[in-house]
């Protein structure tokens, strides 16, 4: 199997879907001849032509609106946001026009809105955010946040084939730092199915995106101390895989919720509520949250490091929970 980066896996996923299905097309800023700010659509315009790789003005509401309009005619648009930080510019289109369409008037909106999110790249307050929770809070949208190259390819393909609007957050820290074997043949990874990134019996860490690697690194350290940690990679943040969440709590009885997003209103609060409602009796300790600070993402490296959850935070909290 070929070794692919996380970025190349996404690129191949979209490419293969465009080869497979002529109703798939790309729309966004600088995605044509330039190939996108991160080069996810590099080479696409040469292969598929400017009809299917559409460079737009800097107009995020127009990009989402046009994607939705094309979807109404049965197309499957893939709209790129140069940074997911800019998704706020299209917030109304996404939350009022697109998300409500099927519920209100029975119009399916099979479109994907994708782009880079996440920090640890010293991008500052406007190039590092994790804005997924705005959309998790909006009924009608699906929110996908892959962690591995295998999942990134399988999930982007599944997102394009899905009949609903999917917001696909690509963690930019992982773009070229993750490289793994990815099958050359066609495959998809189902939405709303979490995966067990590492099995364990003593406690569970439920997380997603770049924090999966922080959890795995912490699990290695904890294993040397005899603490067997299970790491659950959610893969899809909305709708959540409730069975996987409850399943791991029933298995280990102790749970750490970890995310790179800010603390207040982060998915950890929602997962804690689900555990409280459905697996309270299975808990042998308090639910622990490890998250970023409730601040904008700071620019300077020492500040950003302080802002983000670290392996040492996870190890410390896991030890404390194990001993509870």
């Amino acid at each position: 199997m070929p070794q692919l980066t996380y970025l190349e896996a996404i690129r191949q996923g979209i490419w293969e879907e465009m080869e497979r299905d002529p109703s798939v097309f790309c729309i966004g800023e600088d995605i044509g001849i330039y190939g996108g700010a991160f080069k996810v659509t590099d080479g696409f315009i040469g292969r598929f032509g400017p009809e299917r790789v559409i460079d737009t003005p800097i107009a995020e509401s127009a990009i989402v609106g046009a994607a939705f309009g094309a979807a109404l005619t049965g197309m499957r648009p893939v709209a790129e946001f140069q940074f997911m930080d800019f998704i706020g510019c299209a917030f109304n289109q996404i939350t009022n026009m697109v998300a409500k369409a099927h519920y209100r008037w029975g119009a399916p909106a099979p479109l994907v809105i994708r782009g880079p999110s996440g920090g640890n790249v010293h991008g500052g307050p406007f190039h590092s955010q994790n804005p997924e929770m705005y959309f998790v809070h909006t009924p009608g949208l699906k929110v996908v946040c892959p962690a591995s190259a295998y999942d990134a390819k399988g999930l982007i393909k599944a997102s394009i084939r899905d009949n609903n609007p999917v917001i696909f957050f690509e963690h930019k820290y992982l773009y070229r730092r993750i490289k793994e074997e990815v099958p050359a043949e066609d495959y998809t990874v189902p939405l709303s199915k979490a995966r067990i990134a590492r099995g364990g019996r003593d406690l569970s860490i439920i997380t997603y995106a770049a924090m999966v690697y922080v959890a795995l690194e912490a699990a290695e350290i904890l294993a040397k101390e005899g603490i067997e940690t299970e790491v659950i990679d959610l893969r899809t943040v909305s709708p959540l895989d409730r069975e996987a969440i409850i399943g791991t709590v029933r298995k280990t009885n102790k749970v750490v919720l970890l995310h790179e997003d800010v603390r207040t209103g982060g998915i950890a609060g929602e997962i804690a509520a689900i555990i409280n409602e459905e697996a309270f009796d299975d808990l042998d300790g308090p639910i622990v949250r490890i998250t970023a600070l409730d601040t904008p993402v700071p620019f300077s490296p020492p500040q950003e490091e302080y802002f983000l959850p670290k392996v040492s935070d996870v190890v410390r909290e896991a030890r404390r929970l194990k001993a509870y």
Binding site: D42, P57, Q93, P108
Partner: protein, 434 residues
């Protein structure tokens, strides 16, 4: 259509040698500005100013200008036949009388929430939508209930929307003109936020074009709604992509309670077209023939891949923003002026008295026919059931098997360039996390 009348390529640079020279060069560059023309189909050009004046302790709006001008004739259509004119007239009557029925239903307590009216704007809604073919697409704004009727929805659909009935097009889930149909009638449901339909309709045209069809896609925006950023984004995108957008800017003089003079500085909103690089047209929005002719020409441009057209229709909203709003802030002389220009009465006079295409008896029969239709629809809507409480749940997602999604006009045929490389070279070194 907007034409470049004269252009100056002179690019005067401010000299750094002295203030006087600099000021002169700025002045030169201002006087050498390019000028454009906007087509204007109107037979009269009302020019009023509405400003805030203090009367005693209160501020109120005052109108100035010549309000005594005689009502102009209807401008003969270049395209409409006698039969088509009568059809448009019938749609306008249905639009008007349906809204009167809605007002009565509201007063009887049968309507949930408010009612929005297109009183005074029926010619604009009905004659514009009449220019579309069944394959074209349309998205109404809140006052374009007449456009929905022309596209094939019935008065009972609109009434049931207002009464939140189970049998309404949205099954009780949304109100008013907030419904659509992507299967047969090609109507996109509006939202309450303004301007968002413009890029969506552009996207419909884009999707159709990818499937080999050049369609006209029509939507509306008000004099107030056109201030939103997404309006600019949408029209500009459609212009750049040469998509067949037909945008009616319905200048009805009031954005809720705010007059045009507090909303924009251009003399005519059609001038906005110049900045988008597309044609702009002005029509009298109370003259069905002018509205149709401009719409028809814009639709033809769209179908021939000549890009978007912006049509400003001038008229006045003859009621408040919604039924709760008595519109006390509108100076009375403005109402009097525009009441004389009632689009239904003017068109009726044109057909019966000027053209003699309808006898008085035929006109009475037509009105009675519309009344009968509305009475049946009203009774059906009133007697139809409310939705069950549980029907609030579900339908958030398009689940497996609920819709078959495929390109509406056939699978796009694209040439794929074989020579292009499938895998680009890695541009950065790969760094493993650990």
């Amino acid at each position: 259509m907007a034409k470049k009348r004269k252009s100056s390529k002179t690019q005067q640079r401010g000299s750094s040698n002295g203030r006087g020279q600099r000021a002169q060069s700025i002045s030169n560059s201002l006087t050498n500005q390019r000028t454009y023309t906007i087509s204007d189909y109107r037979l009269e050009k009302p020019a009023f100013q509405v400003r805030q004046v203090r009367v005693g302790d209160e501020l109120q709006y005052e109108v100035t200008g010549d309000l005594s001008a005689p009502v102009p004739p209807i401008r003969d259509s270049k395209y409409l036949s006698k039969k088509q004119c009568i059809e448009i007239y019938r749609w306008m009557l249905l639009n008007r009388k349906m809204e009167q029925a809605l007002e009565n239903l509201y007063k009887q307590g049968k309507v949930v929430g408010g009612v929005y009216f297109g009183l005074g704007q029926e010619a604009c809604s009905c004659a514009s939508a009449y220019a579309l073919t069944p394959d074209d697409w349309m998205a109404p704004m809140i006052r374009n209930q007449g456009s929905l009727l022309v596209r094939g929805f019935s008065a009972r659909d609109v009434m049931m929307q207002y009464m939140a009935k189970a049998g309404s097009p949205t099954k009780g889930r949304d109100a008013s003109s907030h419904f659509g149909d992507i299967q047969k009638r090609n109507v996109v449901a509006p939202t309450s936020t303004l301007g968002d339909l413009i890029p969506v309709l552009a996207g419909v045209a884009l999707g159709a074009r990818l499937q080999g069809r050049n369609l006209a896609v029509m939507t509306y925006i008000g004099d107030a709604g056109q201030s939103t950023g997404v309006t600019y984004e949408g029209v500009n995108f459609a212009a750049v992509q040469k998509l067949g957008l037909v945008l009616f800017v319905e200048n009805n003089l009031w954005g809720y309670s705010t007059p045009c003079d507090l909303q924009f500085c251009v003399k005519d909103l059609a001038e906005r077209a110049i900045a988008y690089g597309i044609p702009g047209v002005i029509v009298d929005g109370t003259d069905a023939c002018q509205v149709y002719d401009a719409a028809h020409e814009a639709c033809e441009r769209a179908r021939h891949r000549q890009g978007p057209t912006l049509i400003e229709a001038k008229m006045m909203r003859m009621k408040g923003h919604a039924i709760h709003d008595a519109a006390d802030y509108v100076p009375k002389p403005l109402f009097e002026y525009w009441r004389k220009r009632d689009p239904v009465a003017r068109f009726e006079n044109y057909l019966v008295d000027v053209k003699k295409w309808l006898t008085s008896d035929e006109n009475r029969a037509l009105i009675a026919d519309v009344d009968r239709e509305l009475e049946a629809d009203r009774n059906f809507a009133v007697e139809s059931p409310m939705p069950t409480p549980e029907s609030a749940a579900g339908g958030v997602y398009c689940e497996e098997g609920c819709h078959e999604i495929k390109p509406k006009y056939g699978m796009p045929k694209f040439r794929v360039t074989k020579s292009a490389a499938g895998t680009p070279k890695e541009k950065e070194a790969v760094v493993h996390l650990k």
